[in-house]
Symmetry: C2
Subunit: 367 residues, 2 copies
């Protein structure tokens, strides 16, 4: 990918070393972020949006590398469900990522990139770093935290670990615990990256990056973001720019061509080591385990927080059943929670796509 | 993998060149096979078992490379559902594979391996080659054809294209058409192999083989063979030989360790180019398309053939809904068909595992 040193992003240095769940601490952490809308005088109208695995802080503004619109423009803006006329929307690039926040590509001691010397981080570490960013920004409490997929994991972790800062929690298409199947898909992606000789044990920043491995990892993951029915409707067995099968190994089928494009274009904007670290953080995520093995314990201090949980009927990555477990835990601590399963054909990616019912749920809950 | 030239397998040369669906033809085809039980005097008690993508002819005898028992010992033997006291069970290594039948690793013109000069083949080509093998063996009609997964595709293709040779058809955990999602998973595997620099455009037979790429391909595919619930029951989030997470990139979780083992051990016994060609054949498989776009047409000459179709409730690779489409097509031509969805926790792999209900279905149908 293009080095983030060549792009200019807004960021803040966190004061003091950041303690990590691993027991290590990380000095000199910088967190890159974007804001949309104004903070009010009481400094209590901020909404923190957490991004997903391969997301970034450019939630409603142009991505500086790809030039594409923000990933949640449909949700964030004046008069939109996350209304920038009323709220300040903040989105920070997660710790370990590659769009300006400290991660494996950042310079460690001696000035060379951390690479695999970067500490293994957790979802809670990501949240901890963002709470420190809020300290720097002078924001004590949030009107709400909002996130889909890994963003939803951060939202739940934030409610569990920083309930006093979290007024409302909106968690979409997510889970409180990565399943064996979730871990398995991530492990395939990591092995694909590590199998690429260009990876060089992570120390590739002076030369070619392991784009082929990262591309395969992205392809495998991408299948899990879509529904079987959605793939059939979008592509079926239709051929790509040809009338008959080639009897060769070109991308005969549209779905092959689409996946190859998803894989290759991803490598322009993402760092392979960041992919390793962030998938690892997701696989380690088990909110119950962090709280004595009982998920309800995670929310014992969050009974004054209002929760809204949303799942999609075609999401087979983080299912409605996964979300129900969170609802049961919240019920056990009598936290106010609303839960809805929305019908949408796009699988896990539904939270990013044109699902008007989701807009209405978000607008209603944010208030 | 170990070259098949170093192992001795039973095989026959097919007379004359084999015509292929691509329009090409292939000369000098050899088909490796095993038989279990005796052919009767009338030569009409043979049952042809078709193997799956990574299967082979060693259905009920030791694999010459791995030393493991046959892959369907539970089903084939004296007194077993495919009873070798009454039937001769024949299983041939498919065209394009690597256990003795002609495939990309075989010597082409000039004596060097075909590699990617091997023609792209189809499921129907595999069946055609096996019918020629039966000609060589002096077997005109089969008591039954039986297969699971890709073996089931061959069984359906055999019924469609050689109905006069096929008395009964038992197709298990299969489909009449590869879906967009099926193609997508295979494409990830192919790209993983082709991304491995050791692949060298397929011309790796003189040097190191692309084991890393093939291993990643196998890992990705393996997830689709198991059910989510089965993975959770078998592995959950249990750690591998440790009490706590390592905060590193070793295989912390049992499911990671299992998948890595599946990937690596596969490369001992399978040729990467064969994996490319056979997955391509499966992706090309669309029995309706071969017969004017209407699946019922495929079976118009098979109305005297008896069919039995079996699906598993946890199989998300080839689902009960996929099998129902075949049943509808068979009903449309008034072919005698019985269909059962069995309950088993193992996902697609259920057809290979301990599912006593399947044994009973097979025994009853074979008669």
């Amino acid at each position: 990918m293009a080095s983030t040193s060549t792009i200019s992003v807004r960021k803040e240095a966190l004061p003091g070393p950041l303690p990590l769940d691993s027991g290590r601490e990380l000095a000199g952490v910088e967190i890159a972020f974007e804001t949309y809308g104004e903070l009010n005088e009481a400094r209590e109208n901020a909404i923190l949006v957490f991004h997903a695995l391969t997301g970034d802080q450019f939630v409603a503004s142009e991505h500086p590398i790809t030039g594409k619109p923000g990933w949640w423009e449909r949700m964030v803006g004046p008069g939109k469900p996350l209304d920038t006329d009323r709220f300040q929307i903040i989105c920070a690039n997660v710790l370990g990522s590659c769009m300006g926040s400290t991660g494996p590509a950042s310079a460690g001691e001696g000035g060379t990139p951390y690479a695999m010397q970067f500490p293994v981080i957790t979802i809670r570490d990501m949240v901890r770093a963002q709470m420190r960013l809020l300290d720097v920004l002078g924001i004590e409490t949030l009107h709400a935290v909002v996130g889909g997929s890994m963003g939803g994991m951060q939202a739940l972790s934030c409610a569990a670990n920083f309930p006093e800062r979290t007024g409302r929690v909106l968690a979409i298409a997510t889970t409180a615990r990565h399943s064996a199947q979730n871990i398995a898909f991530h492990e395939v992606g990591r092995q694909a990256i590590m199998a690429d000789p260009a990876w060089q044990g992570g120390a590739y920043y002076d030369g070619a990056s392991p784009d082929k491995g990262l591309s395969v990892a992205r392809m495998a993951a991408h299948i899990t973001y879509l529904s079987e029915a959605g793939l059939t409707e979008k592509f079926g067995r239709r051929l790509q720019d040809r009338d008959a099968k080639s009897f060769g190994f070109d991308a005969d089928f549209q779905v092959e061509s689409y996946l190859r494009h998803q894989g290759i274009s991803f490598t322009d904007r993402f760092d392979a080591n960041s992919y390793l670290y962030i998938t690892r953080a997701m696989d380690y995520f088990d909110l119950a385990e962090e709280h004595g093995g009982l998920l309800a314990n995670a929310f014992s201090d969050a009974s004054d927080t209002r929760f809204c949980l949303v799942s999609f009927d075609t999401d087979w990555l983080y299912t409605t059943a996964d979300m129900r477990e969170v609802v049961h835990a919240l019920n056990a601590v009598a936290a106010p929670v609303s839960f809805v399963e929305l019908s949408a054909p796009y699988g896990h990616d539904s939270f990013l796509l044109d699902v008007p019912a989701l807009d209405r749920v978000v607008k209603g809950f944010i208030g």
